[in-house]
Symmetry: C2
Subunit: 332 residues, 2 copies
């Protein structure tokens, strides 16, 4: 049963675990992936998750699951609807961040995890950790919310809308909207990087300096975007892109009544060059939590990589995460 | 004959004039339009061009022409190629800002204009005025270069590439790439506005507050972008979008040897919230002109409207333009 009242059953969940659960069940860490991620956290977040890493798999029992609506093993819009024997497609119901967490909570129960030492995630993953802390603070001791937002701006929603328009309007939508997906990914990729980071990496370099003008890709940044689009098309599903981006647009947890005191120890991390979910988004979350009686901390980290910084090996950022995970269990 | 060596003939030019040329031919003002503009300057730039306006049509002989490659009357890729009897399409040769100016110069000669009191333009229009001042300073007394660039950044080129990918990859490209054009326009439109301007105008307002989640347009910003795309599709041509955006990517006039002292009085205007061609682009132009011995001035104007500010009624901006046009003729 989803928050909207729609029902969906059965739901498969693809997940990965690393390390082992302590006898007292106190070392479980949930890693929440972003829009285009999957369950294999030690692969896509290898900078942060692994033996000896800030999310130390020698010490913690780390769980990561593909999201509801996903395309990497968990039930989503490209799964077969048992009622029809056909893929759900756009008949798949819309869902909320709370629905994402309900599926993850069922998985934790299945794994024998009653409470989380920490939930951590970047971007959409951070939204999940935040919603969990608001809904069930007794289940989650620490939340590390990295470059997330609790209130997408008009510009954020605008870019999200353009990506969906590229996919939904592609005359080959039924075939996976290959051009629409490529366009959506390339545009999003630009918003994940900083202008300065792109300048450092590409500036105006061309494959053939002094060659003739062409309508084809010529500047290195064009070739890079082509490449990003190609690898994305090979691994991702257009329907999942639509559903997971839409969850983010509607996410506005502080607009709802919040009955529980926010006792989770919340660390908000933002990056100074992130112009997708910049520091003002994290500061807004901190202000709202404080107004509810919580004691969040917000750290802005300097990094040239924009929104993508959360996937990068930025020492001050990793130190902040490690410190949160080493910290004492908060007293509610 | 284009700069590339390709030839193109005949070339039709659609233009509009306002006011009358003085007996000494000293009051001609060329208005250069931006990527999606046309010859009717007093319509699309009504805030700036008209009787009693900063570009005062009671005082100046104002000329504006649709660009080479355009779709509003001047020969472009959707025109009929006399050699084949079919539209040029992507066989239309690529061209440069200098080529745009060559066509405009021929028009001026046709109109009996030997020298320009002022050339003024925003964005791509500013690039034309700048190139003219570099190539033929004796033909142009004053140049007003508004929110232009002489060196698109990797991020600029990236967005430009995504727009072209949306158009070129549209399976209905031959039919005008309706979805690709809509996507390109919506994305570009976001880059023309400032994040703060969008927040003020739309924030997170929805058509039906509290209504169910939907994949369709729901937030006001989505409806606005839909509307912008629809009116754009009705008036613009996909091929022109490709060619004129590509001209901008390659524009890098200071990379070429510049033999002439820049004697034109150049005023550079940028806007503090413009993140497409922000003040650093204008400052770069000013620095390069100064290094060549010129005396450009650069004014940054405060305005909430981002890149689109150049079309808006911003008093400090209009005052700066009016002052340039009232100023004495520069002594070379």
């Amino acid at each position: 049963m989803l928050e909207s009242g729609a029902t969906l059953a059965p739901v498969d969940v693809a997940y990965a675990t690393y390390g082992a659960l302590d006898a007292d069940g106190g070392n479980a860490v949930l890693v929440c992936h972003a829009l285009t991620g999957d369950a294999n956290a030690a692969d896509w977040w290898s900078t942060l998750v692994g033996p000896g890493r800030p999310v130390d798999t020698d010490r913690f029992y780390v769980i990561c699951a593909n999201l509801l609506g996903g395309c990497q093993g968990t039930t989503g819009p490209s799964s077969i609807d048992p009622a029809t024997g056909e893929p759900y497609g756009l008949r798949f119901p819309l869902f909320t961040v709370r629905d994402l967490n309900a599926v993850h909570r069922a998985l934790l129960r299945h794994l024998g995890v009653e409470r989380l030492h920490t939930a951590i995630g970047g971007s959409l993953g951070g939204m999940q950790a935040l919603q969990w802390a608001l809904d069930a603070p007794e289940e989650i001791e620490r939340a590390c919310v990295v470059c997330a937002s609790a209130r997408l701006s008009a510009q954020n929603i605008g870019f999200s809308k353009v990506a969906r328009a590229a996919i939904l309007g592609d005359p080959q939508f039924a075939a996976g909207a290959p051009n629409g997906m490529a366009v959506a990914r390339m545009m999003a990729h630009i918003t994940y990087l900083s202008e300065e980071g792109m300048r450092r990496k590409f500036d105006r370099a061309r494959r053939e300096r002094g060659g003739p003008m062409t309508m084809d890709s010529d500047f290195e940044v064009e070739h890079y975007l082509d490449h990003q689009a190609a690898i994305f098309l090979a691994r991702f599903d257009a329907l999942t892109y639509l559903y997971l981006s839409r969850v983010m647009d509607y996410f506005e947890p502080f607009e709802e009544p919040i009955a529980r005191a926010p006792s989770t120890d919340v660390l908000l991390i933002s990056f100074d060059t992130d112009w997708r979910f910049g520091s003002e988004h994290s500061q807004y979350i901190a202000d709202e939590l404080r107004a509810l009686g919580g004691s969040p901390r917000h750290v802005e980290i300097s990094s040239p990589w924009g929104h993508d910084s959360f996937l990068m090996d930025v020492p001050a950022y990793h130190a902040a995460v490690a410190e949160l995970l080493r910290g004492p269990r908060p007293t509610p």
